[in-house]
């Protein structure tokens, strides 16, 4: 019934719009409107071009004003993060300058050279010097930007194994993350989906007889000691997933049939991040929003929302099915002592199995 009523309403609205358009159109009858743009049209639309330019600039300014602290371009929690943020800011600055200037020229010329009867256009077919200039300048600027980018990319992607990074497996499946530490020997035991044994609680398919697996630790909440380089070895059990850790500026697909990797060094503990001024503001803002939303919820007899406390997160960022939107794991960065204490409480892989 509701569906029927909705369709009827939509139809009425459509008819109303149709009528309005017809009225508008009929109101034009009698006016000597030419079928193509005349001087009056050119004048109006010419001025509109400048209005629209102002609109573009205003939308830009408003976006920065209201949404400007959303982008993750500062306060990166990894060693490579600040370098990457620098590259981002420089690139953004560059494209903003180009955007501002070119939009101005385009819309200003559209206004300034709006057509008028009697005016004649300038026959200006080409100029090779100009073409050369605006080929070579973008080339040089982009080359500089890209070279900088490639150095940054190399820094991030080339994991220096000499620094003895901590090896951690990130295991993705529909719709859950699990992490596995290499343990004392910092070597992950061999694993394959064919070894998965749900009854035995061997959900990652780790080879039970592999000596390296004996000290492995399987967890559902990722802890990292600050200042220690980690290299994540990613696996997926079923479909493509992506390990996205935005605060660390890290992302890598998890591919079934393949082990992918991404490494970084966390530099800010969860505690310190929570206390950083930017994060305090952000959390305050979010909790304000949550309080507002909770008012509405309790009014409808629903449960209010819990207040938010910042935590690093691992999110899935490659479409993986129905609950793709809710596949997350908490990441805690802490001091070496705290980490050791936490690790001591975890069961080793053999002890975690059902006998």
């Amino acid at each position: 019934m509701t569906a029927l009523l909705t369709i009827i309403i939509v139809l009425f609205v459509a008819v109303a719009i149709w009528q309005l358009i017809k009225i508008f159109d009929l109101a034009q009858v009698g006016k000597t409107t030419s079928l193509v743009a005349d001087d009056r049209d050119n004048k109006i639309n010419g001025y509109m071009m400048m209005v629209f330019l102002a609109f573009i600039y205003i939308v830009t300014i408003l976006s920065f004003w209201y949404l400007g602290d959303l982008p993750l371009v500062s306060n990166a929690a990894s060693e490579h993060g600040p370098e990457l943020d620098n590259l981002m800011i420089i690139s953004m600055l560059l494209i903003f300058i180009v955007q501002t200037v070119t939009q101005y020229l385009l819309h200003y010329y559209a206004f300034k050279y709006r057509g008028e009867t009697g005016k004649k256009a300038l026959f200006y077919a080409d100029n090779n010097t100009l073409e050369f200039i605006w080929t070579i300048i973008p080339t040089i600027v982009l080359a500089a930007l890209i070279i900088y980018g490639l150095f940054t990319w190399n820094d991030i992607m080339n994991i220096n194994e000499d620094e003895d990074p901590m090896v951690i497996e990130l295991y993705a499946k529909q719709f859950q993350w699990t992490a596995r530490y290499g343990g004392e020997d910092n070597v992950l035991g061999k694993a394959n989906v064919r070894l998965i044994d749900i009854d035995k609680a061997n959900i990652l398919g780790v080879a039970e007889d592999d000596p390296n697996a004996q000290d492995d630790v399987v967890v559902s909440e990722l802890h990292l000691p600050v200042g220690q380089q980690v290299v994540f070895k990613m696996r997926s059990q079923d479909v493509l997933h992506s390990a996205y850790m935005p605060h660390f500026r890290a992302q890598m697909n998890c591919v079934p049939g393949m082990v992918t990797q991404f490494g970084f060094t966390p530099t800010i503990t969860t505690e310190d991040m929570r206390n950083s001024p930017d994060m305090i503001d952000k959390v305050q803002n979010i909790n304000q929003i949550r309080i507002e939303k909770s008012k509405a919820l309790t009014a409808e007899g629903e449960q209010p929302l819990d207040p938010y406390e910042f935590d690093y997160l691992l999110l899935c960022n490659k479409i993986c099915g129905k609950s793709h939107y809710n596949m997350q794991m908490k990441i805690i960065v802490e001091t070496q002592e705290e980490f050791d204490a936490w690790m001591a409480e975890q069961k080793s892989f053999p002890d975690s199995l059902n006998k």
């Binding site: 909705t6 149709w18 159109d25 409107t33 079928l35 010419g46 609109f55 573009i56 939308v59 830009t60 976006s63 209201y66 982008p71 993750l72 180009v98 955007q99 070119t102 939009q103 385009l106 559209a110 050279y113 709006r114 256009a121 077919a125 080409d126 100029n127 100009l130 605006w134 080929t135 973008p138 982009l142 890209i146 980018g149 940054t152 990319w153 992607m157 080339n158 499946k173 529909q174 989906v193 064919r194 990613m234 079923d238 479909v239 992506s242 996205y244 500026r249 890290a250 992302q251 591919v255 079934p256 049939g257 929003i289 910042f310 999110l315 960022n317 129905k322 609950s323 793709h324 809710n326």
Partner: protein, 597 residues
């Protein structure tokens, strides 16, 4: 009329009148002008479906899990009590992308204008093969029908994103839509690809072989150059997507392991061994990247033509424009890996693709500067088509610039698969290319239908759309850079993203207004086909050959002989002549030289 070198036996027919039935005129037509209109109408209908889907999923994002009468009315079992199901959200996003990229912006843009303009602008009676042309359209029609049918499948339509990466798209147990929905998607796309290939072959052969006397390659309007390179790109890249689709069909139905290996799902290990999803990504994007240039190049060609006509001066840098079309075409085949920086492929490849992607920014920049210089010191006739063309350049610049961020592999790490990417490609495709399509429709409507679109409604259409377009996609960059992933049914599971909720509401509101406002355009379009003011032969005072034909369509385009071409297409405000413009078929004066390099 002098006896002309008509290479086509076809010509003799045109003086006689074929006995035409309703079916041979309107349904199974072999006339390129009718086929163009068929593409346009079908593309428009698919576009309406695509926009409706986007309004629905945008409403879901803005007001998550809130009961909604629209969902209840349109989604049936997929919105119990008016709350959208998570699976159908992914399906909507998938089919929206598929329809818009392929059915609207490829078939609807290229299909319409290549068909309409190639024979008319090069001076040919029709395409090289009218029969193959007819088949191309009908294959497109059938693929559209199949895609729409897939929406009604029990377990849901394809829902793995328009990029349909396996294993998600290969395994029905991974997702409902990966059953029959995905099968129908693949069948539809295979037929679509066949349609596209046949069309492209026709366009290439026609442009090479059927140009009229005097129409050398360097006297071709830029539209033709754009359609030519687009068609070549299509022929090179679409077969690779077809191969990916066929291999996927084999993995799905015949137990092969091209893309699958080591999978444990729903409690059991599957038999697949040795394949790689990354292979699919390579095959997909080998088409996928050229595809976006297949979308934008025709729009660029249309806009160049429209801007020159409406500026009453030549397109600036005609040769440079041709070179940049060729450069963009070539380079677009070697940048596909920039969609795969964090796919798990060797990071060295990432460096290579960053480099080639940098290169492709350059001819694009040259074109943008050339368009701006075209309007400089022009006498701008701000018709709706011209407004859309200016809007095309504006949004192409904005969208293209963010491409520089995304093409830089290091920067892609934190914005890959976020709303930043969504904002980028919508600005360049969803807005810029769409504006190009609108510009083409407003400009060539009189040629297609013998009547004019209502000018004032056109202005209204442009300005409201332009405002809404910016309102939707500009803020989206910011929430993307905040780390908000795309393809999330709801963001409410992450308190971290609660501060993006307001932006999402604003985006959705602009989207609803902008989407609904297209009704104004649709009304104008369909009304004007029947009741629009009748047009004159050359309402825009353009130099190209299509405006030398009669308003009423005839097979073979020209009553008598095909005109011969004596000059390039941009003799507007030529200082050595008194007239405002000189059509291409007007002979040179005594001692006149072609006034360009």
């Amino acid at each position: 009329m002098s006896a002309t070198l008509d290479t086509h036996g076809h010509d003799d027919h045109d003086v006689h009148h074929h006995k035409e039935t309703f079916v041979t005129k309107y349904i199974f037509s072999q006339d390129h002008k009718m086929i163009a209109k068929q593409y346009l109408i079908t593309g428009t209908i698919m576009g309406v479906i695509g926009v409706l889907m986007s309004i629905m999923f945008r409403m879901q994002i803005a007001w998550p899990e809130k009961p909604n009468v629209l969902f209840e009315a349109l989604l049936g079992k997929w919105a119990p009590d008016g709350v959208m199901d998570a699976d159908i959200y992914l399906a909507l996003v998938t089919i929206h992308g598929t329809i818009m990229v392929f059915f609207v912006l490829t078939a609807g843009l290229s299909g319409t204008f290549s068909n309409l303009l190639i024979p008319l602008q090069i001076g040919a009676r029709d395409m090289a093969s009218g029969f193959l042309n007819m088949i191309s359209y009908w294959l497109f029609f059938v693929s559209s029908v199949i895609m729409v049918i897939s929406l009604f499948v029990e377990a849901g339509p394809a829902a793995a994103g328009w990029t349909i990466y396996p294993p998600l798209s290969a395994l029905p147990m991974a997702q409902g839509g990966s059953g029959m929905g995905m099968t129908l998607w693949l069948v539809s796309m295979a037929i679509f690809i066949a349609s596209s290939l046949l069309g492209s072959l026709n366009y290439i052969v026609t442009i090479i072989n059927l140009r009229t006397k005097g129409m050398s390659m360097t006297r071709l309007p830029l539209t033709i150059w754009a359609f030519f390179v687009t068609a070549i790109l299509g022929v090179i890249s679409f077969p690779v997507l077809l191969s990916a689709a066929l291999l996927l069909i084999m993995d799905r139905s015949f137990g092969t392991s091209f893309f699958l290996s080591d999978i444990f799902i729903q409690g059991e290990v599957l038999h697949y061994q040795g394949g790689s999803p990354v292979l699919f990504e390579h095959l997909f994007w080998f088409l996928g990247h050229p595809e976006v240039y297949i979308v934008i190049l025709p729009a660029m060609g249309l806009v160049s033509e429209i801007m020159a006509t409406n500026s009453r001066k030549p397109i600036f840098g005609y040769r440079a424009m041709i070179m940049s079309i060729l450069a963009i075409g070539f380079l677009s085949t070697i940048v596909w890996g920039h969609h795969m920086f964090i796919s798990g492929m060797n990071p060295f490849l990432g460096s290579v693709f960053t480099f080639t992607t940098l290169l492709i920014a350059i001819p694009s920049a040259v074109k943008a500067f050339n368009w701006i210089t075209t309007i400089w010191k022009g006498n701008l006739q701000l018709n709706p088509a011209m407004l859309f063309s200016i809007g095309f350049v504006s949004t192409f610049i904005t969208g293209g610039l963010t491409g520089i961020i995304l093409g830089d592999s290091a920067l892609d790490i934190n914005v890959h698969d976020t709303y930043f990417v969504v904002a980028h490609f919508h600005l360049v495709m969803g807005i810029s290319a769409l504006y190009g399509m609108f510009a083409g429709i407003y400009h060539w409507f009189p040629k297609m239908f013998g009547r004019m679109l209502n000018k004032n409604l056109g202005y209204l259409h442009f300005w409201v759309t332009a405002i809404c377009a910016y309102g939707v996609f500009f803020p989206m960059h910011f929430i993307g850079m905040a780390g908000l992933p795309r393809r999330y049914y709801t963001n409410s599971n992450f308190p971290l993203f609660d501060d993006t909720a307001n932006a999402n509401v604003i985006i959705t509101m602009f989207a609803i207004v902008g989407g609904l406002f297209q009704l104004v355009y649709l009304w104008n379009f369909f009304y004007s086909i029947f009741y629009g003011k009748k047009t004159t032969k050359n309402p825009w005072k353009s130099t190209t050959l299509e405006w030398t034909t009669e308003v009423k369509h005839i097979h073979g385009n020209w009553e008598g002989a095909i005109p011969h071409v004596h000059r390039w297409p941009y003799d507007y405000s030529n200082p050595f002549h008194d007239v405002d413009f000189i059509p291409q078929n007007v002979p040179m004066k005594e001692g006149e030289e072609e006034l360009h390099h």
